[in-house]
Symmetry: C2
Subunit: 194 residues, 2 copies
DNA sequence: AAAAATATAACGAACATTCGGTATGTTAAA
DNA sequence: TTTAACATACCGAATGTTCGTTATATTTTT
């Protein structure tokens, strides 16, 4: 690969990374291209060489994030055999990502997409969310979890860990999330078990 | 009351109402004082006559919203005798408010406060949240709910209904939330019952 | 030398805020 | 009770700043 191609890719990745950080910390509208350029240590012109607009950066970040969560959920649900352990793995992975890949998950959960893209659905209500609902519906039919409204089930599965994660991010919880994960899973499982 | 005092109060309330709507719909940084002025049918100067800055409006909205939720939770928890029904009432009221006073709850749950006020804690992690945690701790000691970490308990109580409300707002759910409230409460109660 | 990557300078629009001025309500002296 | 003095509510143009974006210049790679 040519040196310039590599450099170009590196710069693009840097712009993505720093943009996501700033969008999460300061909000999309409160982040200027000058902020991004400064954070990357490059000029605004360099940004416009790689992207055609601020919005394009945000849109690509959305798509990347949806893909990331889709892959995460898909792999997680395939990694175990029993339903109980599939769900346990999902809860654990969510909590893990909340600490290990905080910015990405904050971007997915906190950024209001319709503020940027008109008619754009929030990440957690699009692909990844629907995938979980489909999974839960199938498990219901197999009798592996309690029969209930599929939306309610999805809300039970995601609502409890996500809320824990959010109060951790808000600094209400000081301790490491790891110590809560077993208790959180048991709570989730109580709402779903047949 | 003097005519001017009344007029002043009406204008201030109008500015509050329209600002909150716009902050929720368009976001704080994407809402200009011109937007607010236009929505109120007044001039930007009139706004500065009543408030000293855009930030002051937002800060006052925060404080009002915290008070509103505090009162709601306090009254709700006193309105029933049995723990089970206190919690049921709380879940039902949350769901009711999500439809009847959507803008206020969206402001409480969606607006990222640190974007506006540095060092400001999110509403749902401050007063109202702590009140629920204290309530749950007391109920645990009395043996009315299962002994568990108080943060986990609070997360179970709030996380499930709040997530339902959010996917309704995101238009993932089309139906009226009322039809889910019994099932949602039962899910919450399963995680808490002794 | 050509092309790609980056830097710099500048544009017009939109922003929060300020301010001189007006119209209306309120108070108090005549 | 009339009227003069003041206070409050509001207007809309103007201020200086920052924004996203573009045009152009410079550097680096091919």
């Amino acid at each position: 690969m040519k040196i310039n191609d590599e450099r170009s890719l590196l710069t693009q990745k840097l712009i993505f990374k720093k943009s996501m950080e700033l969008f999460v910390i300061k909000g999309y509208h409160n982040t200027s291209l000058r902020d991004i350029a400064a954070e990357c240590g490059i000029s605004t012109g360099a940004i416009y060489h790689h992207f055609s607009s601020k919005e394009e950066i945000a849109v690509k970040l959305f798509n990347d994030t949806i893909l990331f969560l889709n892959n995460l959920f898909e792999e997680t649900l395939q990694s175990k055999k029993e339903t109980r352990y599939k769900i346990k793995e999902l809860v654990f992975n969510l909590i893990r990502i909340a600490e290990e890949d905080k910015i990405t998950l904050q971007f997915a959960l906190n950024i209001k997409h319709k503020e940027i893209i008109k008619d754009g659905k929030p990440i957690c209500s699009s692909g990844p969310f629907e995938m979980l609902r489909t999974f839960l519906k199938n498990e219901m039919q197999k009798g592996n979890i309690k029969k209930m409204d599929s939306y309610v089930a999805t809300v039970c599965l995601t609502g409890i860990p996500v809320r824990l994660i959010q109060i951790k991010w808000d600094n209400v919880i000081k301790k490491d999330l790891d110590i809560y994960k077993e208790e959180i899973f048991e709570a989730v499982w109580k709402t779903l078990q047949p």
